[in-house]
């Protein structure tokens, strides 16, 4: 059976994303911005939670930090929104470096809950220090008249994340991260510098969410602590990766598209039972597809198992030897 190339699927998604702002309605563009923001969050979380195996409930911390850094830059200094988003990305990384060094000493549920606690501390900080953050009142930004430029930037970041994940998945670095996920002590015993790699993955997984936080604030034209550090953003992101397939190239893409569309359809048609329905879908997916939609593709033979680069290199080496 001919296998589907993950980059082929990504290419189709890319073409749809390119065409959409020119042919889609304002609603379609607005919906797609939200989808793409979640896609970026899902790819970022996949780096540390999927590949490295350090699942956690604190990625929205970086999203919130980015949202506030970006909003404050725009609000006080009238910085262009795209520059504010870049600075927010740097802020996310700067915050993640010392945090990773401290938090990644924890493992399993301790790390997961520790990161969740951190988010709540940051939310309390944002509420309490109203001289800087405007507290519960929030920060209001000038509304964006045309969402299309914002859409293009978010789509570009999503494309970069997808390509980086594909590159990682086909690299020895990706295998080393997977080795940490599989058995960290064995990986360390076999010479893999686990601490350095874990912190690197953690920092890398913090940058794009901070950028997205800043862009989300611009998209909404407003940010306050419950919005910036919303547990719902965190849980939806994790659900997308779980649904699609953790530690895979296509998992976050499949999860984000399927869950966003299902969310939107249910919300539009059955608002009373929308949240419960989404919960049931996630529950069923985890019960019957614990390795996600992508694993179905692997089982049915549409998607290749193992990383294609190494298979190609092995095949070539086999031919020449």
């Amino acid at each position: 059976m001919k296998k589907i190339n993950p980059l082929g699927i990504a290419g189709v998604a890319g073409i749809v994303a390119l065409v959409l702002p020119f042919v889609g309605s304002d609603y379609a563009v607005s919906f797609s911005i939200q989808l793409l923001i979640f896609l970026v969050l899902a790819y970022s979380w996949n780096l540390i939670g999927g590949y490295t195996g350090y699942t956690h409930f604190g990625q929205v911390s970086f999203f919130g930090i980015g949202a506030y850094v970006g909003s404050l830059l725009i609000f006080h200094w009238d910085v262009p929104w795209y520059l504010a988003a870049i600075v927010a990305g740097f802020a996310g990384a700067a915050f993640a470096i010392p945090l990773g060094g401290a938090m990644l000493r924890l493992k399993g549920p301790f790390f997961a809950i520790g990161m969740f606690g951190l988010t709540r501390v940051l939310e309390a900080f944002a509420l309490g220090f109203d001289s800087i953050t405007h507290g519960g009142t929030g920060i209001y930004l000038k509304p964006v008249s045309d969402l299309r430029p914002l859409y293009c930037v978010v789509a570009a970041v999503a494309a970069v994340m997808l390509l980086l994940t594909w590159k990682l998945d086909n690299s020895r670095l990706g295998l080393k991260l997977l080795a940490i996920r599989e058995d960290e002590n064995a990986a360390e015993s076999l010479g893999i510098p686990t601490t350095r790699l874990k912190i690197g993955a953690f920092v890398a997984s913090a940058i794009a969410p901070a950028v997205m936080g800043s862009l989300y604030a611009v998209y909404l034209g407003f940010i306050d602590p419950p919005t910036a550090f919303a547990p719902n953003i965190e849980l939806t992101t994790i659900a997308m990766v779980l649904l699609g397939g953790m530690g895979t190239v296509l998992g976050p893409l499949c999860g984000a598209v399927v869950l966003s569309v299902v969310n939107e359809v249910l919300w539009a048609n059955y608002p009373q039972i929308y949240l419960a329905s989404v919960g049931v879908i996630i529950l069923l997916a985890v019960l019957f597809m614990p390795r996600g939609i992508v694993s179905l593709g692997m089982k049915s033979g549409w998607l290749a198992t193992g990383r294609p680069l190494f298979r190609r290199l092995a095949a070539r080496a086999g031919q020449t030897s």
Binding site: L175, E182, L190, T194, G306, A314
Partner: protein, 234 residues
């Protein structure tokens, strides 16, 4: 260069007050096959974990080629050419066999890494399972893949934790042949096992542990006839 490639000097290790190793000293000669035997709970795996840097000794030191590695991390020790396998297979289950090997390789480009991995799979006669998932392998295949994975590190010393346990005699003989070949290439083999047929036939030197103490050392003939060994082991 000294003939001793690995030296364990007066190592002690306690777990919650219980003595796991008590003043254990061991020398492993370069290019030799050296074995450690002892009843279950005698401290063999603790000794290996200390040498590999997974555990820190409470007292004593470990030297590789005269360099003190007692406080080095497991990854640093690995970088000095000490590679290991595990008593219970710890293959990366969600990777293929080839990926298991490639994941631990260092310092060379992808093509060279793949070539080395294929060469090792060929050497161990397991080329046919290169694309199989780690979780799909039989017990014996896992043992062989673990050896191949350790060899990916191009080690000077191989620490093998019970490489012959639970596998059939034919596969045991194959592994023995591979170990002899490795030795002939200058790799030092230091292993733990209960398989007396192999230990007493293949080792240049055997150490015997019982209740955390070293009770005998010597060539296979000496160990076979040692009264303390007979009492502790047979």
């Amino acid at each position: 260069m000294s003939d001793t490639i690995l030296a364990v000097e007066n190592v002690c290790k306690r777990f919650a007050g219980r003595i796991a190793l008590d003043q254990v000293s061991i020398d492993v000669a370069r290019g030799s096959i050296t074995g450690v035997i002892g009843p279950n709970g005698s401290g063999k795996s603790t000794l290996f974990n200390i040498i590999a840097g997974t555990l820190r000794p409470d007292e004593g030191s470990v030297l590789v080629d005269g360099r003190n590695i007692t406080s080095a991390t497991a990854a640093e020790i690995c970088g000095l050419g000490v590679a290991r396998t595990f008593q219970i297979s710890r293959l990366f289950a969600e990777m293929t066999v080839l990926e298991n090997l490639v994941a631990v390789a260092r310092g060379i480009d992808d093509r060279a890494v793949i070539a080395l991995a294929l060469e090792l799979l060929d050497f161990l006669e397991i080329s046919g399972i290169a694309d199989r998932w780690g979780s799909e392998l039989s017990y014996g295949q896992r043992k062989l893949v673990e050896i191949a994975r350790a060899l990916m590190l191009q080690p000077r010393i191989m620490l093998l934790d019970e490489p012959f346990a639970g596998i059939n005699p034919r596969l045991q003989n194959r592994i023995v042949e591979h170990l002899r070949t490795l030795c002939a290439k200058g790799i030092t083999v230091f292993f733990i096992d209960h398989e007396m047929r192999i230990v007493l036939k293949e080792c240049d030197l055997v150490y015997v542990l019982a209740e955390g103490r070293l009770i005998a050392r010597g060539d296979t003939q000496t160990v076979r006839n040692d009264a303390k060994v007979l009492q502790a082991y047979f």
